[in-house]
Amino acid sequence: MSDFTKSLTKSLRDEEYAETYAEVFQDTYLATQIKVIREQRGKSQAELGQLIGTTQGGISRVEDASYSGWTVKTLKKIAKALNVRLRISLEEYGSLPGDVIGMNRGSLMRAAHQNDLVIFPEKISASAANRILLMDIVDSASHDRADLVRENRNDEENVVNASRFSPASDLNQVDLSDMNRAASGGMTIWQ
């Protein structure tokens, strides 16, 4: 356990502190993820706004780490416009440090429905398959996941980020059900 995780875990013993920390982190996470996926789709704030019936200013308001006026209705609209599903889940406080430390651009990105490798495994191109194996080797050499994400940010191919894959000698060992599970160690299609 890192010093940061130890320190945050200790702070979370205070119930009022834990409640506030979780709430503020959730707001920060949502605002950031909407911005990251919107950019991943190549859409401007105005374009996303148009899709959900609001203005550029409306999107700018929700893409603010301090915004806290979320409604499920709005989140459903945004999810639909970004071609992803909305998942709402009740969690234990103990999972919070892991969520905080694991938040980065790569972990926030999500494949659009049409590029979801679980649903469309045939979309794994030969080059991406090679990339999986290459990155798997890099991962087993204990490279940092964030570095891998940065290395691939500008890749124009349909690249699969397999940065937290368990070692595999060939694609047959790849569990496709993990492919789009970015936050918990799966893979993300970069588009």
């Binding site: 940061f4 834990a18 506030t20 982190f25 920060t28 605002a31 990251v36 780490a65 430390i101 980065n104």
Partner: protein
Amino acid sequence: MYALYDFCNEGADNLMLKWARKESLSTRDRATLDVKMDSLAINGLDLIPKLVSPVEKQPGIFKLRIQTKRALRPMFCRGPFTVGEEFTFLLGTIEENFKLDPPASQATTNKNVLLADRKRRVPHERFH
């Protein structure tokens, strides 16, 4: 992950913690400050939208945007010794009616003091 530091006085007292005590920051204030500072330490300036903003007329000084019952505005700079690897919190302020107390110029003064004496900072401590 970026390293965070807090400006301190000649007696090595952490002035950010002193500010938090002086302003009687609530548990809610402290938790909110910690989320924003943790986000800065983990992701830096680029990922999280509207986490920070530059401070007017104080080049190289940024403020975290924190709205609780009061507008808390801790100020910091990149580095200043290893830019790209660390941030140093220089001053705690509260904004009311577009006015900062203490004034933002104090952050620049503190940065200059730190540049002249590397000992005038300590590793950042959580507010809770």
